[in-house]
Each structure stands twice: as structure tokens, then as C-alpha cells.
């Protein structure tokens, strides 16, 4: 077994170790903490590159999948087995997670410069990176679930990093509870899956739960077993990846520091749901209904979140809804059978969304934590580097031709179109939703860029904004580079011979057939995007960018805008139904406990004890006390006679002891002779 597979555990272990050590640091140890965490991450990144290189080298003409399994502990005949797997999927995720994490760690040095809890922040970040990397390489249901919960925990900690803000505290709780709802389903699904397959390992030399032997068992069972397990697991993915109806936590999670939003709530952790579906793809393929559900949920989320994003004012919230929408795209891609397309979108999205978030972080940092885009404006001259990189990110997100987003989105649309063509009828919904979503994405990104960078500065803070430090710009540039060029990895066949070869496809799934690219879809999506950008450009300029001016859309369709701005009142709906119901139940239980249980048990038992004690007192006073007094006085009379021996002088005792020893000695002599 190659070295890198056996030592794959080092990749998550290093950040964990760094987190552990950093946790012991005092607040003043800022520089050592940053060095330690970034250093550990850099090593993890190098190891991830090694892993990637190993997969690349071994992967010619076939896919490599190597697992390193071991027994954690055994009880009786069964054992809990854990393991790590190195395959193209985990190698790709390792690269993305460690690369983006590394850059964002570096960015954080600049961004969190003035925060007094700098070391705590890095400790949490490192904890997150470790658990995410562990999640990616897990080859066991149990390990996957542990890492899954750990990323949830670190996300919770980081959202509430500024827990003195009530909104942050609320957001952290919301995120935790909402994802927990999904995780319950996930957990039940895991247990069910374990029961059916009898192994916790995914890949175990033919005996793993995701390998054909065991999947064949499940498929042979028939009924809804496979579908149920898949959908239960998908619940977890929905929670983590913010799919409708569990998307509500993700926009609120933007209360955390911006690097956290970029790392966890845009690039990596929220993609864990997509990754999960990708990892479980063989299971989902057993029953087509499961994948179809994924596709519809994804398609709906993609469109739904994109509409909300059009009417938001907070720079980070726009990006958050955009993230939800893009995650929907990935789910859509996976659901319509585009395994590679969905994951490729995950890959490119990680770069440009991290770039956008970091760019917004740079802007927010420069504008003294102002997040309302109505109060920004005209930043393109004051922050040129940020502007350029931000535009690159926005174009990539919108899907304009040479940028990364174009290729991945196009591939998803292509797969959706094939899906529609194959099934017909309602199956064309994903494709249509995807196309409309693409339009809306390009539109709201144009709106945001115009609001932020063009026009005049609309607040005092913005007027004095200055370009950020190189700690922050460096990662922006690196991510910008990736946003431009990462897409070429998925350059479709036959368009340009020399780049040729859909590299990414061959890497991830060489044995899977790729659909031939369709020029019509490329042209169509490009046209849609360009029209959207043009519309956005036209609508948001001139008077619309003046200080105090409302959104032109609001003026035109106030009712619609209000619905969108209030996110379709989903939160309010939840508050009126689920939350209200929970409260009512709690109140009822409280009443029962307090007034009914107390009355019966507490007062009843207290009365019984009181009566018993009265009886006891009677016996005590009459019978026992008198007898004791009599005995004591007898003793006292006897003791008077013994007092002369014990006069209390210690030397007196000692002398008696010495004399006794001599007497005993003499006695022994007399008797012994």
C-alpha cells in the first residue's frame, strides 16, 4: 500500500493538532498561533497535493480507489471498523478544501487583525479544517458521521464567534438546530444502511457497503428500502447544504466573521452535502426515484434562492442566497445524472464563491463593517485590486464564457437537457429552472457589482475606504487566478483539440460516459447571461445609484419585491408553525410536571414522612433516653476510681512505661534463666 494512503490520516490530524495546541495559547500569542495554524494547513495542503498526485499518476486508464481500514475496537464478535479512502473524489475534495482553507487562513490574518480573540478564531478555524478534511477522506459511516458533526460544531462555534451580539448568538443556535433536523434523518439513514449491509465501511475490497455486492443485496430487496435510505441520507445533505426547506440557517450564518462565511458557508462545509450525495452516489443510483427527488429539490432551491437574492440589501446575504442557489445547481446536476457535472460545479464554485466572499470581506473591512450595499458605491477607484478580483468572481458566478463558472454550469445544463429529453414531461423542469436561475444569477450579481463599485460613495465610511493589506489581497489574487482557469480543466471534448479531453471528467469518473457538448446550450446560456447582465446594467445606473434612492425594481413591483425581500416569509411561517407548536408543547409539559406530578408525589410523600417522624419522636423520648442516662451515671461512678492512673501528664505515662519495660526485662531474666 502506498505511503500516502497509509498516512492519509495525517492530513486532518495536523490541523487538529494545531487547533489543540492553539487552544492552550493565551490571547497574546497571536503570531505563534497564526504561524502554527497556517503552517499545519500548509503541510496538509502539501500532503493533499501528494495524494492528488498519487491518484493522478495511478489513474491512467482506470480509476484508482485505495482504502486503508483498521479496527477501532471490537466487542464480542463484531468490531467497529474505521478507514480512509483515497479516490478521485476524495483527492479532489482534499485539494479544494486544503487550498481554499490555506488561502482563507492567510486572509484571516489580515481580516481579524484587530480582534482580541484572534487565537480562539484560529483555533476554531483549524478545528474546522481538520474535521472537514477528515470528512472528505472518511471510508466509514461512523467516521463520516463523526466528522460531519464536528464540522457542524465548528460551524456553530464560528457563526457565534462574536457571541456577544444577540443576532450572532441566535444565528448560531438556528444553524445548529436546523442542520440537526437534517442530521436526524441522516443518522436514521446511516443506521438503516448499516443494518442492511452489515458493514460500516464504504470500500472494503468488495465487501464495502458502496460496492456492487452489497448494493446488489439492497437492490434485490426491492420495495422502498433503497429509496428510503437514500432520501434519509439526502435529508442530512439538505440540512448541511441549505436545500429548501432547510435553507433558512445559511443566510443567518453570515453573522460570523467573513472569512468563516467564505470558508465554511460558501466554499467547503456547505458543499459537504453535495459531497455526501457524491460519495453515496452508487446508493442513489439503485433507485432512480431517489436521484429524481434530488434533482427536483435542487432545481427548486436553485430558482427559489436566486429570486430572493435579487431583493436583498446586505452584501453578504446576497452572496449567501447565491450560495444556496448554486448548491441547488449542484444537487440538480447530481440528480439529473451528471455526477461529474455536479462535482465539477462544486470544484469551481469553491474558488469563485470563496473569492466573492473574501472580496466582500475586504470591502466590509475597508468600510468599517458596513454591509448594506445601499451605503457603498464608487469603490472601484478606491479598491482597484478588490474590484478586479471581485468582478472576476462575479463573472465566473454568472457563467460568462472564459471563466470557471461557465464550464461547470454549462455541463449541468447539458445533463439536465439530456435528462429532460430522456424522460420528457415534468423532467424538463430542472432544465428550465436552471436556465431561469442562470438568468437571475447574472442579474443579481450585476446589481450587486453596480451598487458596490459604481456610482458615488453613499456613506461616510465608504468615502474613506482604503485598499486592504496584502495579507488579504494575496489570497484574492490566488483565488482569482483559479476562478479564471479552473474551468479549463473541464473543457469539453472536441471544441478545441489541443486542450481537448475533458480532463476533469477523466480524472473523476473515467468509466462514465460523458455527453457530447451541445453548441446550442452554450449559445443559449451565454445569451441568457449576457441579456441578464445587460438588463442589470441598464436598470441599475444613473439615478438608481444615488444616495437614498430605492431599488428600481421596488418602484415597479412593490408587492413582489416585498415578498422577495422578506424571503417569502419562510422564517415567519416556521415561527408560526413549528416553533409555536414546540413552545405550546413545552408549556403543556411544564404545567403537567409542576401542578399534577408535584401534587401527587411531593406532597403525598412529605405527609407520610411527617407522620412517621412524629411516631419516632415519641419512642425516642420515652424509651431510649431514660435508659441511656441510667447507664451513663453508673459508668461515671466507676471511672472516678480509675482517674489517678490517667493524670494527663505525658511524662508521667512515659516514666511508667520505662519502668514497666525494666520490670518486664527483669521478669524475663528471672523466668528465662
Amino acid at each position: 500500500m502506498p505511503w500516502i494512503v497509509e498516512n492519509l490520516w495525517l492530513i486532518p490530524f495536523l490541523p487538529f493538532l494545531a487547533a489543540g495546541i492553539t487552544a492552550l495559547f493565551t490571547r497574546e500569542k497571536r503570531i505563534p498561533a497564526a504561524f502554527l495554524v497556517i503552517g499545519a494547513m500548509a503541510f496538509s495542503f502539501l500532503l493533499s497535493l501528494c495524494a492528488g498526485a498519487h491518484v493522478l499518476r495511478a489513474g491512467h486508464g482506470g480509476m484508482i480507489r485505495e482504502a486503508f481500514n483498521f479496527t477501532w475496537f471490537a466487542y464480542g464478535d463484531s468490531a467497529v471498523r474505521l478507514g480512509f479512502v483515497l479516490d478521485p473524489l476524495s483527492a479532489m475534495m482534499l485539494f479544494v478544501v486544503s487550498f481554499v482553507s490555506l488561502l482563507i487562513f492567510i486572509f484571516s490574518v489580515g481580516y481579524m487583525d484587530h480582534d482580541e480573540n484572534f487565537t480562539r478564531f484560529f483555533c476554531f478555524l483549524s478545528l474546522f479544517a481538520g474535521s472537514m478534511l477528515a470528512l472528505v477522506i472518511a471510508n466509514s459511516l461512523l467516521l463520516l458521521f463523526m466528522a460531519w458533526e464536528l464540522v457542524g460544531l465548528s460551524s456553530y462555534l464560528l457563526i457565534g464567534f462574536w457571541f456577544h451580539k444577540p443576532s450572532a448568538a441566535a444565528a448560531m443556535k438556528k444553524a445548529f438546530i436546523t442542520t440537526r433536523i437534517g442530521d436526524i434523518g441522516f443518522f436514521i439513514g446511516l443506521l438503516w444502511f448499516y443494518t442492511e449491509t452489515g458493514t460500516s465501511l464504504f470500500y472494503d475490497g468488495g465487501q464495502g457497503s458502496l460496492e456492487s455486492a452489497k448494493l446488489g443485496l439492497i437492490a434485490a430487496m426491492g420495495g422502498i428500502t433503497a429509496l428510503s435510505i437514500s432520501l434519509l441520507i439526502f435529508c442530512g445533505a439538505m440540512g448541511k447544504s441549505g436545500q429548501f426547506p432547510l435553507h433558512v440557517w445559511l443566510p443567518d450564518a453570515m453573522e460570523g466573521p467573513t472569512p468563516v462565511s467564505a470558508l465554511i458557508h460558501a466554499a467547503t462545509m456547505v458543499a459537504a452535502g453535495v459531497f455526501l450525495v457524491g460519495r453515496m452516489y452508487p446508493l442513489f443510483e439503485v433507485d432512480p426515484a431517489a436521484l429524481r427527488t434530488v434533482a427536483y429539490v435542487g432545481a427548486f432551491t436553485a430558482l427559489f434562492a436566486a429570486t430572493i437574492a435579487m431583493a436583498q440589501w446586505d452584501i453578504k446575504r446576497i452572496l449567501a442566497y447565491s450560495t444556496v442557489s448554486q448548491l441547488g445547481y449542484m444537487m440538480l446536476g447530481l440528480g439529473v445524472g451528471g455526477y461529474v457535472a455536479g462535482l465539477f460545479h462544486l470544484f469551481t464554485h469553491a474558488f469563485f464563491k470563496a473569492l466573492l466572499f473574501l472580496g466582500s470581506g475586504s470591502i466590509i473591512h475597508a468600510c468599517h463593517h458596513e454591509q448594506d450595499i445601499r451605503k457603498m458605491g464608487g469603490l472601484k477607484d478606491r479598491m482597484p485590486v478588490t474590484f478586479v478580483t471581485y468582478c472576476v468572481g462575479a463573472l465566473a458566478l454568472a457563467g460568462v464564457l472564459p471563466f470557471a463558472g461557465f464550464f461547470s454550469k454549462d455541463e449541468i445544463l447539458l445533463d439536465a437537457q439530456h435528462f429532460a429529453a430522456k424522460l420528457g414531461g415534468a423532467a424538463s423542469v430542472p432544465f428550465c429552472f436552471g436556465l431561469v436561475g442562470a438568468f437571475l444569477t447574472a442579474f443579481y450579481m450585476t446589481r450587486q457589482v453596480k451598487y458596490v463599485f459604481f456610482g458615488k460613495a453613499r456613506s461616510h465610511a465608504t468615502e474613506h475606504a482604503r485598499e486592504s493589506s496584502w495579507w488579504m489581497l494575496g489570497p484574492l489574487a490566488a483565488l482569482g487566478f483559479m476562478s479564471v482557469f479552473a474551468g479549463f480543466l473541464g473543457f469539453p471534448n472536441e471544441v478545441l483539440g489541443f486542450i481537448g479531453l475533458n480532463k476533469f471528467h477523466h480524472f473523476l469518473a473515467p468509466d462514465l460516459h460523458a455527453h457530447a457538448p451541445s453548441g446550442w446550450i452554450m449559445l443559449g446560456s451565454t445569451a441568457v447571461v449576457l441579456i441578464a447582465i445587460f438588463c442589470g446594467w441598464k436598470i441599475y445606473q444613473g439615478a438608481a445609484l444615488e444616495a437614498g434612492a430605492g431599488d428600481p425594481m421596488e418602484a415597479r413591483w412593490p408587492e413582489v419585491f416585498r415578498w422577495l425581500n422578506n424571503k417569502y416569509y419562510v422564517d415567519e411561517f416556521y415561527a408560526k408553525t413549528f416553533v409555536w407548536f414546540t413552545h405550546a408543547l413545552a408549556r403543556a409539559i411544564h404545567f403537567f410536571d409542576r401542578y399534577i406530578l408535584n401534587l401527587i408525589f411531593i406532597w403525598g410523600s412529605a405527609g407520610a414522612v411527617y407522620v412517621l417522624s412524629l411516631i419516632n419522636q415519641l419512642i425516642d423520648e420515652t424509651a431510649i433516653n431514660r435508659g441511656f442516662d441510667g447507664g451513663c451515671s453508673t459508668l461515671r461512678r466507676g471511672a472516678r476510681w480509675n482517674r489517678w492512673v490517667q493524670n494527663g501528664l505525658s511524662q508521667h505515662y512515659l516514666r511508667i512505661t520505662s519502668a514497666s519495660i525494666v520490670l518486664l526485662f527483669i521478669l524475663a531474666l528471672l523466668l528465662g534463666r
Binding site: 501528664l649 511524662q651 512515659l654 516514666r655 520505662s658 519502668a659 519495660i661 525494666v662 526485662f665 527483669i666
Partner: protein, 171 residues
């Protein structure tokens, strides 16, 4: 060698007698230190070097200092004027100790094993002592360490200040 022994014997006996008979407590303590040093010398003369060094460290370095401290803290250096430093019935004490000595001397006199002179004087290296403590005498060693810990805690608790509101306390 006899010469060294007699010097040490005279030294320890004299200092010991002074330590228990002198009126001034501080002089008693000084004599006691001399006594301890003499005992260490006896250990050295018996080729128990390690024990001699331990004797100096523990008795001179620790116990003597403790006694000095106790004398200082009780501030009763010479006793009350005109009151004997010996307690009532001290004569009985002298008599008892003399009787004990007579008994002991009688028993060791003419004992056949007392006249043995070893061919080679034994010696015990320090690492051998350590090995014995960790193997054969491991349990007593642990018990002693427990005892010392208990004594430490006990001494601290005993010497702690009593609550201030009790009568008869120094202000």
C-alpha cells in the same frame, strides 16, 4: 580507628547531654545540631556514607531548622525565672532512664556476637540502595512516602491559625 570512635563517642555524648540539660533553649538546639553532626560522623565511620549525608540533610538541614523555628515561635527561651527547666518528678525520670540503660547494658554485655570483627568492611553503593528501595522494599517505601505526605498535610493543618473569634489568642 578506635581513636576516631572515641572522639565521636565523646562528642555525641557531650553534645547530647548538653542538649537535654541546658537551660537556654537556643543553646540546646545548637548542642542538638552538634549531636546530629556527630551521629553523621558515626555513620561515616561505619562506611554508611549515603546515610551520613542523608543524616546531615534531614537532621541538620530540616529537623534542626524546624526545632529552631518552633523555639522561636514559642518564645520561651529560658523558661520563667526561678522555675526549674525540669518538670516535677524529674528525679524519677533520671532514675527510669538509668534503669533502662542498666537493663540494656546488662543484656549486650558478654554477648558472643558482639565481639565479632568482620574481615572486610562492607559497603553499599548508592545505586544498590536505590535498587533495593525500588524492588525489595518497594512497599515500605511507598508507605513511607504516603506517611510523609500525610505528615505534611497534618502539620500544615495543625499549625494553621485557629479562627480569630476564640478567646485566649494572641492579638
Amino acid at each position: 580507628m578506635k581513636f576516631v570512635f572515641y572522639i565521636l563517642a565523646t562528642w555525641t555524648m557531650t553534645s547530647g547531654l548538653l542538649a537535654v540539660t541546658m537551660r537556654n533553649m537556643m543553646h540546646c538546639a545548637a548542642a542538638l545540631i552538634a549531636f546530629f553532626a556527630g551521629i553523621a560522623g558515626i555513620f561515616f565511620s561505619l562506611h554508611a556514607d549515603f546515610l551520613g549525608a542523608v543524616q546531615v540533610i534531614v537532621y541538620v538541614g530540616a529537623i534542626a531548622v524546624l526545632i529552631l523555628f518552633a523555639i522561636m515561635l514559642t518564645r520561651n527561651l529560658t523558661g520563667q525565672e526561678g522555675v526549674s527547666p525540669f518538670s516535677g518528678g524529674a528525679a524519677w525520670g533520671w532514675a527510669a532512664s538509668l534503669a533502662v540503660f542498666c537493663a540494656m547494658y546488662y543484656s549486650l554485655q558478654d554477648h558472643p556476637r558482639c565481639a565479632v570483627i568482620p574481615e572486610a568492611s562492607p559497603s553499599l553503593a548508592v545505586d544498590e540502595i536505590g535498587r533495593l528501595l525500588m524492588t525489595r522494599y518497594a512497599v515500605p517505601f511507598e508507605v513511607i512516602s504516603l506517611l510523609l505526605t500525610a505528615a505534611l498535610v497534618g502539620a500544615v493543618v495543625l499549625a494553621l491559625d485557629e479562627p480569630k473569634n476564640k478567646p485566649g489568642l494572641p492579638k
